[in-house]
Symmetry: C2
DNA sequence: GCTTACCTTTACGTTAACGTAAACCCTGTG
DNA sequence: CACAGGGTTTACGTTAACGTAAAGGTAAGC
């Protein structure tokens, strides 16, 4: 019936998405409970659109960045300003800017941590080379 | 005895650190329970060294990056290779590299998200300007 | 000596993000 | 038709990272 769509507008089952993004179906349903996803239904069964798939991708990226699901939902809502309501939009813009400030702080944290790890790796390597001087591995109040 | 140190080697109370980093004393004690901090004691009271302060800073940075306390402890341990043990060092280097790979993925996630947010902010601003065309705010399967 | 302001331990409560199990419904296939 | 392989809801369990009392010790200042 509807399987003759050659266009990229396909649809996915819950386990399709679960496999593709390596999450459990339980998690996907949980995101729905929390209002992050609202797939259509064929009877009982959930049917996911490409847009749903994109939202799931955003959720997972948010997770990798340490966002809560509530925060990810905020971000997802920023993509689809459901409104004409100007005040809503102004609030959204402030939320976006706050979020961006936070993420930029995170970025700076990351850069520092990467450098630090690089250095400690180098220290480890050095220590491996001259594996005799115990004084080298003293703590000496870094 | 040892109080005649004019050097920057000061010491801090638990509430000193709590105020400076805007965390609760409960949290700081919790980090100690989890083995991330081991301050000295004057009787019952905890006394924190500059090194302890640095460790706390690392813990909080880890938190901002979405690390668990266990992961932060791993990272802190990377700074103080307590050992001469070569096998330990090799394991540490691998852990560091894994962590760095993960952080670099996080970095890429961050860059993408920053661009996305920038774009959605722009969309909001545009929508504010021409606050009439309802068609503009359609969902249209992004 | 009493209050105030810190510090301590012990322990139960809470929230987020699912895991896990039970019990069930469809649907195609040998 | 049995059953294997999907899907569903409902609901209790779990872990991390603290919050929040409760109950008390200690030192400073009036």
């Amino acid at each position: 019936m509807s399987t003759d769509t050659p266009t990229p507008a396909r649809s996915f089952s819950i386990s399709d998405l679960a496999k593709e993004f390596d999450v459990t179906t339980r998690a996907i349903r949980f995101y729905e409970d929390k209002g992050l996803l609202t797939p259509e239904r064929r009877g009982q069964t959930r049917i996911y659109s490409p847009a749903d798939r994109t939202k799931l991708k955003l959720i997972l990226r948010g997770k990798r960045l340490g966002l809560t699901l509530d925060e990810s939902r905020d971000i997802i809502e920023m993509y689809t300003p459901d409104g004409n309501n100007a005040k809503q939009l102004v609030k959204l813009i402030h939320k976006i800017r706050d979020r961006r400030d936070y993420l930029e702080q995170q970025m700076r944290d990351l850069e520092v941590m990467l450098v630090d790890l690089q250095e400690s790796e180098q220290r480890c390597l050095d220590a491996l080379q001259e594996a005799d001087s115990d004084a080298y591995s003293q703590v000496k109040d870094w």
